[in-house]
Amino acid sequence: MANLTLVQAINLALVQEMEKDDRVIILGEDVGPNGGVFRVTEGLHKRFGSSRVVDSPLAESGIIGTSIGLAMAGLRPVPEIQFEGFLGPAYDQICSHAARMRTRTRGAFTVPLTIRIPVGGGIHAPELHSDSPEAIYAHTPGLKVVMPSSPYDAKGLLISAIRDPDPVMFFEPKRIYRAFREEVPEDEYTIPIGKARTVCEGDDLTIVSWGASVVQCMQAIEKSGKSIELIDLRTIYPFDMDAIEASVKKTGRCVIVHEAPKTCGFGAEIAARIMEKCFLYLEAPVQRVAGFDTIMPYYKLELEYMPDTARIARAIEDVGAY
């Protein structure tokens, strides 16, 4: 066991998977000698050489499109997109090809691809460095969408993602890249894609969240003094509706927390599903504490934009009082 940050946990997962399987290769902007702008690939270039850790041209469609070709040929590329705001140029290759190759060819070609992407706000970064586009990809059949909220989960989920035979969007909440450390086993282990984690149990209310927001939720719960169950989704698609359903049937009340804009964010899907599955158990309408339906502002105001402990606490109160 080592006490690792999320960045270190991911780095360790990459090292171990690359040691184990030489089909795993890394490509992206600045992932080589520089070790990535967040240093997630630190040391990998030195260790595995420039044929396995490849500084690519500055072209996101190119990174993903060539990764698709690599994957179709049987390799297991793990490209990095430097920030979620630069997924845009790669959108077409991800959604028109990576997500469709298996079904388009009825299984003749597959795309075992793990796209690593730092995600979310809160680090005082420039424009387009602080967004949360997970819902876009959750609405794209053929992809899996993962977002860990802790070092332990990050390692286990990334290993699962790399070994997954289908394309995985692996979103890394950059706000907690180094925010805290956690005991992470040095041995390899996997966490199944599609299974949520119950962070804490409770009877009065359920909170569903994912990524960096989980930390805010924990703080809000602590302050509330109430008996609240917190579910960290871990995987956005396919999502663990069973866990949510069981919890909400128990508590009857639910708040969903995410950084992405409210409208058509993944919270909408969860809210809709809760209504579908728990209609007769609900004692209050499911509430969403989310980013506003605006562009994430430049950093002077980013903290106003993101769901903070106060907003979560307020929602807990409002739902409780309903």
């Binding site: 190119g62 060539t66 028109s96 070609f109 289908d166 599955k277």
Partner: protein
């Protein structure tokens, strides 16, 4: 030396068997032995006939939109012939002739255009990727496929085909740039047929040649007569040799022409002159090979008639096979979404409903036979 020349370039055009049937014996030496030429000729004739039949299938409602390859048979065919059997062919949708030469049964192409994904389930050993519908996107896959070969130390290269229109897409640029800068052996083979649906080539590339697209990447660039199978074969063969030896990409512009409409959904009379089409009919890649074969006493009218009969039979048999394949089950489109179907999706498949009340299995009453679920 305050001004100095920092770059010079020159692009050559190659023609061996020209539109008047004139064969350049020196350049054409050893390019295609006669026995192979007969095979290639047969392929072109068969492919042309498929176009004819496919057109009719579409018109009679037995197939969806179909893009004829007519007039462009020599391009992909010449390339497939010049390449190794296990080099990747990464086509767009006007490369039937090359794919068939490689060994793809015709019914795959038919199935594809009949709206059936099974037409894309191409056997791995053929080293062909499925037709690419979104223009310009497949070249990146070619770069990735060839990169994988390089990574594994294989000698396999990739050859990717695309139209003049496709060279306007950003993905083309990125594919070429990755290949050039990461030293990946890809042949970028542009079928310049002068039209992208109704948009003339000059809107896609107003430079004197499309070949010079490759100069941007420091690639070797070649232009050849795409209706001259000898020129295509020689150009691709040389390019492949170079690409394989040096692990470098090459850009080829094959000058050809789309004799038909863009697809069966198109009516080219709306936007192009018949005179232009007529001129290009004179440059038909099939005509000139037939003429050469005749000159070489390898061909005559009775052989032609026999061939016609043969390909008709083959094409009709392929149509029969395609149409004979049992319709997919109605929930067939779920089964290959993921290696393992997520629970939620399994429920959708088994009930064929999305409303949650309908998804309750016991009540849905539509639980499918096929899935067993």
């Amino acid at each position: 030396m305050p001004t100095k020349t920092v770059f010079t370039a020159e692009i050559q055009y190659l023609s061996i068997l020209n539109e008047h049937g004139k064969f350049d014996a020196k350049l054409g030496k050893d390019v295609i032995p006669d026995k192979d030429l007969l095979v290639l000729y047969e392929h072109m004739v068969r492919c042309r006939y498929l176009d004819e039949v496919a057109f009719k299938l579409q018109r009679s409602g037995r197939m969806g939109t179909y893009p004829q390859n007519m007039g462009q048979e020599a391009t992909s065919l010449g390339a497939a012939y010049a390449l190794n059997k296990d080099d990747w062919l990464v086509p767009c949708y006007r490369e039937n002739c090359g794919l068939f030469y490689r060994g793809l049964p015709m019914e795959y192409i038919l199935l594809h255009w009949m709206g059936d994904e099974r037409g894309n389930a191409i056997p791995r050993e053929l080293y062909c990727t499925p037709l690419a519908i979104p223009i310009g996107t497949q070249m990146l896959h070619a770069t990735g496929l060839a990169w994988a070969s390089k990574y594994r130390g294989e000698k396999r290269i990739a050859c990717t085909f695309f139209g003049d229109g496709a060279t306007s897409e950003g993905d083309f640029h990125e594919a070429a740039n990755f290949a050039a800068n990461l030293d990946i052996p890809v042949i970028f083979f542009c079928q310049n047929n002068f039209w992208a649906i109704s948009v003339p080539g000059k809107i896609q590339c107003s430079a004197p040649t499309v070949a010079q697209r490759g100069l941007a990447y420091g690639m070797d660039c070649f232009q050849c007569d795409g209706n001259d199978i000898f020129a295509v074969v020689k150009t691709v063969r040389d390019a492949a040799k170079y690409a394989r030896a040096k692990s470098r990409p090459v850009f080829i512009e094959a000058v050809t022409y789309r004799l038909g409409d863009h697809t069966t959904a198109d009516d080219a009379r709306r936007y192009r002159d018949q005179a232009e089409v007529d001129m290009w009919k004179q440059r038909d890649p099939i005509l000139r090979v037939r003429q050469l074969l005749k000159e070489r006493k390898l061909w005559n009218d009775s052989k032609e008639a026999a061939l016609k009969e043969k390909v008709e039979k083959e094409v009709h048999a392929a149509v029969e096979r395609a149409e004979g394949i049992a319709a997919p089950s109605r929930n067939d489109f779920f089964d290959h979404m993921y290696a393992e179907l997520p629970e939620d999706l399994r429920l959708q498949r088994d009930t064929m409903q999305t409303h949650s009340l309908g998804e309750v299995l016991e009540e849905s009453g539509v639980r499918s036979q096929e899935s067993g679920g």
